[in-house]
């Protein structure tokens, strides 16, 4: 069953208008993005900073209003929900943020943080708070309830953030780089916790990350983003082992490997020059691509299925 | 955006603010007093004179026409005549403004230089006894009541020790005798010193504390570590790397401090009977010499706006990062 279905999602940010200028400039932060996530699956959204992955995440939880496109969650289009309806729907989607030092209000005790979604939805229930804390491994809950976030360690804070996200039983969770600020030894712990929780509650998750190795470990499928576009999407193992798009290949070749003997082959490409401001019709990756052809300059390639369940947007295929 | 564009947009903003402020002044003087004509007409005027003024300022016309004439007169430099002595307001303001600018500019520059130098030095010696002493001293002077310090100085240095005159800007007997230029200048400086010292003593503390705080923040920046790692001399790190960056917020503060300087000027001019614009506005208000009050207030506001503008431009010039 499809839990999440995103169709032609687009978000433009207007650039600050210049004095005496009538032209309008937009940053195409998310440009015609479509994907589906099956119930109980984790999809990884991978890309470098500024590629639009965090904007996509914020659109899905409606922190931002999409410029156009549809977001179906359990067959209900939430792209245009407003006011009360939106508030009601919010209990179905939750988000886990990148930096647990920032995503918890420094003046709240753990109890207030975890209780807040329940209060907002009018579902306050002490038992639920205890359960949520236990489920994320903060045991016994009484010991943590009255602590401020600065009295917790990094790993504990992220657990509180996860407890807060899960306390109202959402059906869809967006995790925006939930472990990139954590230390290595704690990171693995939190990743495993997320996997366990997914299994336990049959959660559907969008997992945003810049780290391909983490994406491979966590996700069932992966979508690679570049300057607002999804350039490649498919089964996680398939993307890692058999990348098609030149950008995905370059990205994979740049991941350092914890093995001094494995000599990897670097694919050399230039540093990004253009931003997605009023992007031309041509392929976004054109300037940096080692395989560019004439057609790449004229037309943005469509996302096509090159082999089963593996989509790529590149003129080299098809 | 280019620098020119930035300047242009600031100019437009300032012009808009200027019109709003002028309109506020207009409203203050025509709407609030029980008799709106009172602010231009005195009972002692002759009937013809009254009629001429009514004509010029459109006092019999609807308020909109008055508003139009108000701006028209303003741009012609016509504020009417003072109720006392009947001199043209514009002439009075010109003369007094010059006196004020002479005093305030010297004082602000001096206190700025002293404040920044001391602030820089004590931030570098964070935690020392010297630092604590200067912070305490700066705070005490910063919060001192301006007229009181002025009076104390007058009492000690002029009344008791006879080192300086008791007030005013010049000694009229000396000037009537038609002295040489040097004598004139000496006389002027003799009168200037006491108000100047009062001003500097009161205001260097504010700049000093600002500079100290700004320096302390700058000293935490990573490029300071880089500078130390590069093995630069302490003096270079302090002056070239820390102070240069710490100065940026001080420039912005300068614009705000202009308004405070004027407050200080009003009080100091009153205590030292310095014939400046501040004292003029006080006396004119007490005598209900409305044309003069209105003109003086408008001019002061314009000066503040210009100072703000200059500070903005200076900031943009000093910080290469600024994106206009």
């Amino acid at each position: 069953m499809e839990m999440v279905n995103v169709e032609h999602l687009t978000k433009l940010f207007p650039l600050r208008k210049r004095l005496f200028s009538r032209e309008k400039h937009y940053v195409y932060a998310v440009d015609d993005v479509s994907f589906k996530i099956e119930k109980g699956k984790i999809m990884g959204l991978v890309g470098e900073s500024g590629c639009g992955k965090t904007t996509t995440a914020k659109l899905l939880v409606r922190l931002l209003d999409p410029t156009s496109g549809n977001i179906y969650i359990k067959n209900e289009n939430i792209a245009d929900l407003r006011g009360k309806e939106l508030k009601k729907f919010r209990k179905n989607i939750q988000m886990i943020f990148q930096d647990p030092y920032e995503s918890l209000n420094p003046r709240f005790i753990v109890h207030d943080t975890v209780a807040e979604p329940l209060i907002a939805q009018g579902l306050y229930n002490t038992e639920k708070i205890y359960n949520a804390l236990e489920v994320v491994g903060l045991k016994p809950p009484e010991e943590f309830l009255f602590r401020y976030s600065h009295e917790l360690s990094g790993g504990q804070r992220q657990r509180v953030a996860i407890a807060r996200a899960l306390v109202i039983d959402p059906i869809f969770v967006v995790a925006d780089e939930p472990t990139s600020m954590l230390d290595v030894s704690i990171r693995a712990d939190v990743l495993n916790l997320l996997l366990a929780l997914r299994k336990k509650f049959d959660l559907t998750v969008l997992f945003v990350t810049h780290d391909l190795a983490v994406a491979r470990y966590m996700c069932d499928s992966i979508a690679v983003m570049y300057l607002g576009k999804i350039v490649e999407r498919g089964n996680a193992e398939e993307i890692i082992k058999n990348p098609k798009h030149p950008y995905t290949k370059a990205l994979l070749s740049a991941v350092p490997i914890p093995n001094p003997k494995a000599k990897r082959k670097r694919i050399k490409i230039g540093e990004r020059v253009s931003d997605a401001v009023n992007p031309p019709e041509r392929c976004r990756f054109y300037e940096r691509c080692n395989y560019k052809k004439d057609i790449c300059k004229r037309k943005y390639p469509k996302l096509i299925e090159c082999c089963k369940d593996h989509f790529v947007a590149c003129h080299l295929y098809g | 955006m280019s620098m020119e564009r930035y300047i242009l947009s600031r100019v437009i903003q300032i012009i808009i603010i200027f019109f709003i402020v002028m309109s506020i002044i207009f409203l203050l003087f025509r709407v609030i007093p029980s008799d709106p004509t009172s602010f231009l007409l005195t009972p002692s005027m002759t009937a013809e004179a009254k009629e001429a003024i009514r004509e010029q300022f459109g006092l019999n016309e609807p308020i909109i026409t008055q508003y139009y004439l108000y701006f028209k007169n303003f741009f012609h430099g016509n504020f009417g005549n003072s109720f006392y002595g009947g001199r043209s307001v514009m002439n009075i303001i010109k003369e007094r403004m010059l006196n004020s600018i002479f005093l305030v500019t010297t004082a602000v520059i001096l206190s700025y230089i002293i404040g920044i130098t001391v602030g820089k030095a004590i931030a570098w010696k964070r935690g020392s006894k010297t630092e604590k002493f200067f912070v305490g001293l700066g705070l005490w002077f910063y919060t001192m009541f301006t007229p009181w310090l002025g009076i104390l100085f007058l009492w000690i240095f002029a009344f008791k020790l006879h080192l300086f005159p008791l007030g005013g800007m010049i000694t009229s007997e000396v000037w009537i005798a038609n002295p040489s230029l040097i004598e004139k200048i000496c006389d002027l400086i003799h009168h200037l010193i006491l108000p100047l010292i009062t001003y500097v003593v009161l205001w260097f503390g504010g700049y000093m504390l600002l500079m100290r705080n700004s320096m302390l923040e700058t000293l935490r920046e990573d490029y300071i570590i880089t500078a130390r790692a590069k093995g630069l001399k302490e003096k270079d790190i302090r002056d070239k790397h820390a102070a240069r960056n710490a100065l940026l917020p001080i420039v912005t503060a300068f614009a705000i401090s202009i308004s405070f300087s004027i407050t200080g000027a009003v009080l100091i001019e009153t205590v030292f009977s310095w014939p400046g614009i501040g004292r003029t506005i006080v006396e004119a208000t007490l005598r209900q010499d409305y044309p003069l009050v209105q003109g003086a207030f408008a001019i002061i506001t314009i000066v503040v706006l210009i100072a703000n503008f200059i500070a903005d431009i200076a900031y943009a010039y000093l910080d290469p990062r600024i994106s206009y």
Binding site: L63, S103, A120 | W140, M144, P147, L267
Partner: protein, 294 residues
């Protein structure tokens, strides 16, 4: 929850104890507080002589130096300077604190609203603040009180607050702008928390330290500006503030002859302004981590 309250009081106590600035500031304020409370006791012994406004000692002609009957001497028509000084402390406290509370409250609310809602609300409120900030404060106050003709402390209070709130609201707004982008606010939004609750529960407590800082610093500003106005002759004539004492001393020609008259009011204004500012600086050193030692 009771435990939490005690924790707060303890924290405040530690705060006061930990900072020399705050300690000194609070001590001075306590002294003036005692003066303000002592004022009616001193006056009520014999209002006909000791009332700071209407009382006159018939035995005294012109200003006289300190004596047992008049610890600070009398002014030019034989009013007791000590009662005036005591009454002045009352006025300074009441006016300073009221202006500070009023303008800080307005400033904080405006700053929060402008910063959080942004767009047109922000533009209107901040342009208004800009314009008020550009107006030269003391001349403006002089002109306004001149036009109103009759001055009362209430009008002075309102005008002072009117010129003090923009500074505060600009700082609170910029703080709100940066808070608004912080993930814990986004996190609250995702959970369906409404705007009002976000402002009250998330933003307001986080700007509170700055509000406290301005609460004390504004008292200093208000005391000094009120004293300045009174000194120039625009004070409330039905009362006797420190600024007015100094004004009478200055304008009646006793200024160099009667140091017992000239020194106390100025000293009091400066000391009380100083003490509130000290607390502000002490708070700033604690609140602004960037000023701490590395």
């Amino acid at each position: 929850m009771k435990k939490k309250k005690w924790k707060l009081i303890r924290q405040i106590w530690d705060l006061i104890r930990g900072s020399t600035f705050i300690k000194l500031g609070v001590s001075i304020i306590i002294i003036f507080g005692i003066m303000a409370v002592f004022s009616p006791i001193w006056v009520n012994r014999n209002p006909e002589i000791y009332d700071p406004i209407i009382g006159v000692d018939p035995d005294v002609h012109g200003s006289e130096g300190p004596s047992l009957k008049h610890p600070l001497g009398t002014d030019y028509i034989g009013k007791d300077l000590f009662s005036q000084l005591l009454r002045g402390s009352q006025i300074a406290f009441i006016l300073g604190i009221m202006v500070s509370v009023l303008s800080t409250t307005i400033g904080t609310i405006v700053g929060l609203v402008a910063g959080y809602y942004g767009r047109i609300v922000d533009i209107i409120l901040m342009r208004l603040a800009d314009i008020i900030l550009t107006l030269p404060r003391l001349p403006l106050l002089i002109v306004i009180s001149g036009i109103f003709g009759t001055q009362s402390n209430w009008i002075i209070l309102l005008i002072l607050s009117f010129t003090f709130w923009p500074t505060i609201s600009r700082v609170i707004r910029s703080q709100t702008l940066s808070l608004r982008e912080r993930p814990f606010i986004e996190s609250a939004k995702v959970s369906g928390v409404g705007n009002r609750r976000i402002i009250l529960r998330h933003l307001a407590p986080n700007v509170l330290p700055i509000t406290f800082y301005y609460l004390t610093v504004t008292v200093t500003g208000a005391i000094l500006v009120e004293a300045g106005l009174s000194f120039l002759g625009f004070g409330d004539p039905s009362n006797m503030s420190w600024g007015m004492m100094l004004k009478w001393c200055f304008t009646t020609g006793y200024v160099f002859k009667a140091p017992y008259w000239m020194i106390p009011p100025g000293l009091c204004i400066s000391a009380l302004a100083f003490s509130f500012y000290l607390i502000g600086v002490g708070l700033e050193e604690i609140v602004n981590p960037r000023l701490k030692k590395r």
